[in-house]
Symmetry: C2
C-alpha cells in the first residue's frame, strides 16, 4: 500500500477491482455487530497511532510547497492530534448509527400468494476520488464498512503519505477482526491513468463518488461508464420575501449574514441574496450588516439605488448570478415577486440549497414546491444543508443529481435494494 | 410532431429540452387529481380514435419489409383494436395508482428545532429511447405524467407513424385539460444524430432510460453525460438445491419448465439451470420435461452422464454459462454445493433474476443474502420478475444497475426527493 510505480496500469486496476468484488461478496454475510466492531477497532487504532499519523502527514506537508499548495490547502491537508481525535470520533459515531443493511423498505403479498419484500443491501464496490483532506480516507472507509461495501479510494498526491497511513490502519483493523482487508483499498500510485482505467470498469464497480473541485468532477463524468453521484457547485440563494417584514426583528438580517459569512468557503454558503421590492428596509439593514462583516456587494441597479450613500457596492452583471464565490462576496438583486425569485433560482442556481425567509405560509409552500433544488429551506440558514446537521453522521458526499440520492449522503445512501420474492410453487400461466 | 428533416440538429434538441424544462416547472404545481384526469382523458381518446391508430400503424407495417423487420418484430409493431384497448387500460390503471408525488419518505426534528422532511418530487425531464413496440409511447407518457415529469420520447423509425399518432393524442389531451402539451414530446425525426445531441444535455435532462437491444443500450451509456437507468441482458438462473428433494412432488420440475418455456423470448426467462449433485432424479425429471417442451439442452459433463440414453444433449462450454438465449435452449450444470451455485451465478449471471428451489430455510436465506441480483426468488418461477406481477402497473423499464432503482421500475421510480427544512430563525454557530 505504499507509493509505487505501476508498469501495467490496466492489470493493476483489474487486480484492485477483482479484490474489491471478492471482498464485497464476503461483506454481505457479515452481521451489523461485526461491522460496528471493526469500526470501533479502527477508531481506537487511529487514536493509539496518532504519532505515526502526524509523522506521515509531515512527509506530505514537506512536499506541499513543491506541489504549489496554497495556505488554505495546506491547512486542509494538516493532521494534528486534535484532528486525529475528530477522525476517530467520526468513525466511532458511524459505528453506532442504525444499520441500514437489511432494512425492509417495502413489503406486501400478491393475490397469488407471492410474498414480496424490498430489502436494503450494500451497493457492492464503490470508488471514491478525492482531493486534499485526509479525513475523507477514514470517513469514506467507515461509511463503506458500515454499509457493507468494498471501496477503492483514490486520494490526491498531495496527501498520499497521510492517506496511506490511515488506510494502513484501517486494513490492519479489518484483518485483526477477520474481515477481508481488501474491503478498503487505497490506490497506491499517483499515476493519473489509473483513474481513467478504473472508470471503465462498470461491470465491477457500481458507483463512483468524486469529491473535489468542479474540473475534477467534470473529468470523472466525461470519462466514466460507471454511474457517478456528484455535485459540481453550490450557488445557494436566500430569498427575502415580502412576507419577511412580519418576521421577528433582525431575524432576516441575521440569517442572511449567517448564510454568507459563517463559513464562506463551503458549498452551502449563500452566494446570491434576492430581496422582494416590498422590503427595502430589510435589504438595507442586511446589506449594511454584510458590509460590516467585510462582505463585498455586487448589486443590481435597484439595490444600488437603495444602498446609495449607505454602503459601497459594485454593479452586478450576468456572471454574478451564476457565481460560486466561495469568498466574502455576495450578489444582491431585487425581484418584484416570488415567481421572479423562483424563476431566477431555477435558472441561475445549482440545485443545491436555497432558502426563503417569510412569515407567509402560502409563499413558503409555493417556494418549497417550485424551487428545484436538493435542499429547500424556510426561515433558517443555508449552512444547515449538511449531513452532520441532518443527523446522518459523516457525509460520503453531496448530490445535486436527481438519481439515487439528493443532498447530503450518509451510509444509507451507499445501499441499494433487492427484491426478495418468496413463493410456494407459483408458476406463471 | 410529424416526421420532418431537421437542418440544425443542436438547435432542434435545445428547443426540445427547453420546452421540456419549462413544462416540468409547471408540472410540479399540478394536483394529483389533475394528473389523473389527464390520464383518464388520454385512455378515453385512445379508445375513441382506435381507427386512426390502426391506420397510422398500417403505414409503419407497409414499410416493415423495406426496413428488414422479422416476423417477430412485425408482430411487436402491430396495433389492432385489442391492443389499443390494452394500451388504454394500462393508462387508466396508471391513473388510478397511488400518487407518488409528495409522499414523505422520512421526517424528524433536530435538537435545534429544525423540522426536516424528505419529500418525493418529480425528477424533472426524462428521456426515453426505445425500439419497436408502440405501446411504450403511451406507457412511458402515462408513467411520466403520473409522476409529474416531462418526457422526451425517441422511438424507432420502424414505428414512427404509430408513435406520432399516439403522442398526438396524448398532447391533445394535455392541452384540452389545460396542461402544457410539451409535457410529452416525441422526437419528430429519425435523424440518428439527435440522440447523441440530447445525451449531452445533462443540465436539462435528468435521466435517460434506454429500452431495447443490448447494442442500443451500450451506445447510450457510451455517449451519455446524463445518468442512465438500464438493463443489458437477462441471464437468469434457477438453482435446484439439495433441499429441493423434500418439496412437493413435481414442484421443482414445474417451476424449471415454467421459467424456461412459458415465454422464452423475454428477459426474465431462465437461461441456466443449476442442480445440486444430490438431486440427480430432479435433474433427470426436469430435463426430460424440458425436452418434451422442445427445449434444447446444453449440459456439463456430469449432467450429460446422468442424462445419457434419456434425452438428447449437447456439450456446454463457457459461452453457454454467459448466454442469454431468448429461445428454447437452456444450459444445465451440476454443482456440488450452494456456495458453488452462488459463485457461478455471481460470476456468469446478469444480476437480473435468480431463483432457488428448496425446502431448506437456511439454504434459502443464504441464497437470498449472497446472490447479487436485482430479484432473488425462492420456490417460484423467475417469470414473476415483472412490474405488473409486482403490482407496480406498467413498467418504465427494468434496472440491473444498483443506483436509484433496481429491478422493475414503476411511477415512483420516476421520482427523486427533496430535503425540506423548516426553521424559526436558526443560524449556525
Amino acid at each position: 500500500m505504499s507509493t509505487t510505480t505501476i508498469t501495467d496500469v490496466p492489470a493493476y486496476c483489474e487486480q484492485l477491482a477483482d479484490a474489491a468484488v471478492a471482498a464485497s461478496h464476503t461483506l454481505v454475510t457479515l452481521s451489523g455487530a461485526k461491522r460496528a466492531a471493526v469500526l470501533h477497532a479502527i477508531a481506537q487504532q487511529l487514536i493509539d497511532r496518532t504519532d505515526a499519523l502526524v509523522e506521515a502527514n509531515a512527509a506530505d506537508l514537506a512536499q506541499a510547497d513543491e506541489l504549489g499548495l496554497t495556505n488554505a490547502m495546506k491547512d486542509r491537508l494538516k493532521i494534528d492530534p486534535a484532528r486525529v481525535k475528530k477522525m476517530a470520533d467520526s468513525v466511532a459515531q458511524i459505528a453506532d448509527q442504525v444499520d441500514p443493511v437489511g432494512q425492509i423498505i417495502d413489503g406486501f403479498v400478491r393475490p397469488n400468494g407471492l410474498r414480496i419484500e424490498k430489502v436494503r443491501v450494500p451497493i457492492g464496490v464503490t470508488l471514491i476520488i478525492y482531493e486534499s483532506r485526509p479525513n475523507v480516507t477514514s470517513d469514506a472507509a467507515a461509511l463503506c464498512i458500515k454499509s457493507g461495501n468494498a471501496v477503492i479510494l483514490r486520494g490526491g498526491k498531495e496527501a498520499i503519505h497521510s492517506n496511506a497511513a490511515i488506510a494502513g490502519i484501517v486494513r490492519e483493523a479489518l484483518q485483526a477482526e477477520g474481515v477481508d482487508p481488501n474491503t478498503v483499498q487505497l490506490v497506491g500510485t499517483t499515476d493519473r491513468s489509473v483513474v481513467g482505467e478504473l472508470l471503465k470498469m462498470d461491470e465491477k464497480i457500481s458507483v463512483v463518488i468524486p469529491r473535489g473541485g468542479e474540473s475534477l468532477i467534470r473529468a470523472v463524468v466525461e470519462q466514466s461508464r460507471i454511474p457517478v453521484v456528484k455535485h459540481y457547485t453550490g450557488n445557494c440563494h436566500v430569498y427575502v420575501d415580502s412576507g419577511a417584514k412580519d418576521l421577528p426583528e433582525g431575524m432576516a438580517r441575521d440569517i442572511v449574514v449567517n448564510a454568507k459569512v459563517q463559513r464562506p468557503g463551503v458549498c452551502n454558503a449563500a452566494e446570491s441574496i434576492l430581496f422582494h421590492a416590498d422590503v427595502p428596509e430589510l435589504l438595507i439593514e442586511s446589506c449594511i450588516a454584510l458590509a460590516e462583516n467585510s462582505v463585498k456587494l455586487r448589486v443590481d441597479a435597484h439595490a444600488a439605488k437603495l444602498l446609495e450613500g449607505k454602503v459601497d457596492t459594485l454593479e452586478a452583471d450576468e456572471s454574478d448570478w451564476l457565481a460560486e464565490y466561495l469568498d466574502l462576496i455576495v450578489a444582491v438583486k431585487v425581484v418584484d415577486s416570488l415567481d421572479e425569485a423562483v424563476a431566477h433560482i431555477n435558472k441561475y442556481g445549482s440545485k443545491h440549497t436555497d432558502a426563503i425567509l417569510t412569515s407567509d405560509t402560502f409563499a413558503a409552500d409555493r417556494f418549497v414546491q417550485q424551487v428545484d433544488s436538493a435542499d429547500v429551506m424556510v426561515n433558517c440558514s443555508t449552512r444547515f444543508s449538511d449531513g452532520g446537521e441532518y443527523g446522518l453522521g459523516a457525509e460520503i458526499g453531496i448530490s445535486t443529481d436527481k438519481l439515487h440520492a439528493r443532498g447530503p449522503m450518509g451510509a444509507a445512501d451507499l445501499t441499494t435494494y433487492k427484491w426478495v420474492v418468496r413463493g410456494n410453487g407459483q408458476i406463471r400461466e
